[in-house]
């Protein structure tokens, strides 16, 4: 897939915010001294009066956003996932979630593809933290096109939304005229009959590549892209699971609490309609290294997904 265009979804976030700035007078963007990294700097340049740098104080930024929202603004707060969801958890829960305020959280630098900065900054727990907050929409876009669509959808939606973006460039996979984004809707990107790969974020592109390799081995893999982890498109997941009887989830996040957990919850409540294997960060911390080296080591690239699906199929559960 080397010919594919690559772009980091944090770039998409910044660019989409500039589009929103023109569309909505009440969109404001808040940063905690990371505007250059979260890519909101482009919004700051276009709309300096609507960009608020709060300094290195994420919890305060979250409260400020809550206050702005009560006065009719649509605040987008931006920081690394570690701080936006991690440090901020209780502020998000009590000052945004509980009063159901119209605040959007743009969390960049999610997962291990933060790379060289290492485990302290590699947040593999944010989806779990945000998913458990009642009423919170959680989105994890797969590429530039989906990321921009998610930001626009978040602005149009009334209520709290958590969006997760990556630091590393990833392939554009949704560049097609019929592409349509809707909060809560998953999409079958490739049809198959032997196994369903339910993927999110950067793992979607890798899952598509893995499915091609699996096809060569005679394994027909269906690939579902789940951008909205909450609310999950349960109908789509169940239909596919019932058809294939085997589900592999793939995410750049802990296997605890994220997409894998959400899919397992859905399948279990439906009567264990399929056996499941969860690909993700297996309850460990990350480490320093290039994004490419890390996705290879933690088996989130096409090769890693391909191998793990095969291992799962061979076990015959």
């Amino acid at each position: 897939m080397s010919e594919q265009k690559k772009i980091a979804t944090r770039e998409s976030y910044g660019n989409a915010l500039v589009e929103l700035g023109a569309k909505y007078e009440n969109v404001v963007v808040l940063d905690a001294d990371l505007a250059a990294a979260t890519k909101t700097g482009v919004f700051m340049k276009s709309y300096p009066d609507r960009h608020i740098n709060c300094g290195i104080a994420e919890c305060n930024m979250t409260g400020i956003a809550a206050g702005l929202a009560t006065c009719g603004k649509i605040p987008f707060i931006s920081s690394f996932a570690m701080f936006a969801a991690g440090r901020n958890f209780e502020q998000v829960r009590n000052s945004i979630g509980y009063p159901r305020l119209n605040v959007k959280i743009g969390a960049t630098h999610a997962g291990i593809t933060v790379g060289e900065d290492g485990a302290s900054h590699q947040c593999n727990e944010d989806i779990a933290l945000m998913r458990v907050i009642p009423g919170m929409v959680v989105m994890n876009p797969a590429d530039d096109i989906e990321a921009k669509a998610a930001v626009h959808a978040a602005a149009a939606y009334k209520g709290p939304v958590y969006m997760r973006f990556g630091r590393a460039a990833c392939p554009v996979i949704n560049d097609r005229p019929e592409y349509n984004f809707e909060i809560g809707k998953g999409e079958v990107l490739r049809e198959g009959s032997d196994v369903t790969i339910v993927a999110t974020g950067i793992c979607v592109g890798s899952a598509l590549e893995a499915a091609e390799k699996l096809a060569v081995d005679g394994i027909s893999a269906e690939v579902i892209n789940i951008c909205t982890i909450k609310p999950l498109d349960e109908k789509l997941v169940l239909e596919s699971a019932k058809k294939t009887g085997k589900v592999v989830t793939a995410e750049e996040h802990s296997i605890i609490g994220g997409l894998g957990s959400a899919v397992c919850e859905t399948l279990a409540e439906a009567g264990n309609v399929a056996s499941v294997y969860r690909i993700g960060i297996r309850d460990v911390y990350g480490e320093s290294g290039s994004a490419a080296a890390l996705v290879e080591k933690y088996r989130l690239d096409a090769k890693g997904i391909y191998e793990q699906v095969k291992e799962f199929m061979l076990k015959g559960r």
Partner: protein, 279 residues
């Protein structure tokens, strides 16, 4: 309202507090009573509000950062006409709008849900900033506890407010000197509170929280203050008005029993009688 009317109103607010907490058999009377005069002044004199139109856009905003003193807020709001005073006895009961800590989802007129300490000043900053951005005339008030300012986020917010010159913001510190585990200066001293807020570029005013001349003068001074947020440090008496609760740490979060409730109401009735005699 003149001072006498405010005092009479505050006494009614205090009766509501004690009655609500007694009915709930739980809640926080001490810090509700210490702030009762501040609540009364805000809701009956200072703030531009309309109980019949609680969401009007240009209203002044109030964030109760020390959300556990909800009984004080509820009693002031009920007496002001946001909802019937009779509802106060439903405090903390299943199905009541009077949640243990204030929720904007339940009661129109509550500008922000609160209860988890340390977050209200940030929210008030956001409201004040929105007003500043829009050139709106409203003012924003937030009440914090002197124990609550041990939370670091208070100082993040103070830094922001000073930096942004939010002169439409007033932070009131209910300085009753007591927190759950003891006197604030024994648990982890926040003093000097005035110098700290001054260092964060606030205009600081020290007052007696139960003296309406001082309260009135302070809020007037806050309105006249430009390019700086104001912090009013209101030195108060925890449990103010109830003989056996005054200055007692134990009444931070305890409800009176039947006999204690009778004594409390008798104390407040006595104040009513005294105030009725004032010409």
């Amino acid at each position: 309202m003149n001072n006498l009317e405010l005092k009479k109103t505050a006494n009614a607010v205090r009766k509501g507090i004690v009655t609500a907490v007694y009915s709930a058999k739980a809640g926080h009377p001490g810090g509700s009573l210490s702030a009762a005069d501040i609540y009364t002044y805000l809701y009956f004199e200072e703030m531009n509000i309309d109980p019949a139109n609680p969401d009007k856009e240009d209203r002044d905003r109030f964030v109760l950062s020390k959300g556990h003193t909800a009984p004080g807020l509820y009693s002031a709001m009920a007496n002001r006409g946001y909802f019937p005073v009779a509802d106060l006895v439903t405090l903390r009961k299943l199905g009541s709008n009077l949640q243990g800590h204030p929720s904007m989802q339940y009661i129109p007129g509550i500008d922000m849900s609160s209860g988890s300490l340390g977050q209200g000043v940030s929210v008030a900053c956001g409201m004040a900033l929105a007003g500043q951005m829009d050139g709106a005339p409203y003012r924003v008030y937030t009440l914090v506890g002197d124990g609550e300012i041990q939370e670091g986020q208070i100082w993040e917010a103070a830094m922001f407010a000073g930096h942004r010159k939010l002169d439409n913001l007033v932070v009131i510190v209910d300085n009753n000197g007591l927190q759950i585990d003891g006197p604030v200066d024994e648990v982890c001293s926040p003093y000097p509170i005035d110098k700290k807020f001054e260092a964060f570029n606030f205009h600081v005013i020290n007052i007696d929280a139960h003296d309406y001349d001082e309260i009135r003068a302070a809020f007037k001074e806050a309105r006249a203050t430009k390019d700086k947020p104001t912090c009013i440090i209101a030195r108060s008496l925890k449990g103010k008005g109830i003989s056996f609760m005054e200055g007692q740490c134990a009444w931070h979060g305890t409800a009176p029993n039947d006999e204690q409730y009778k004594t409390a109401i008798a104390d407040l009735d006595k104040i009513d009688t005294e105030l009725a005699e004032v010409k």
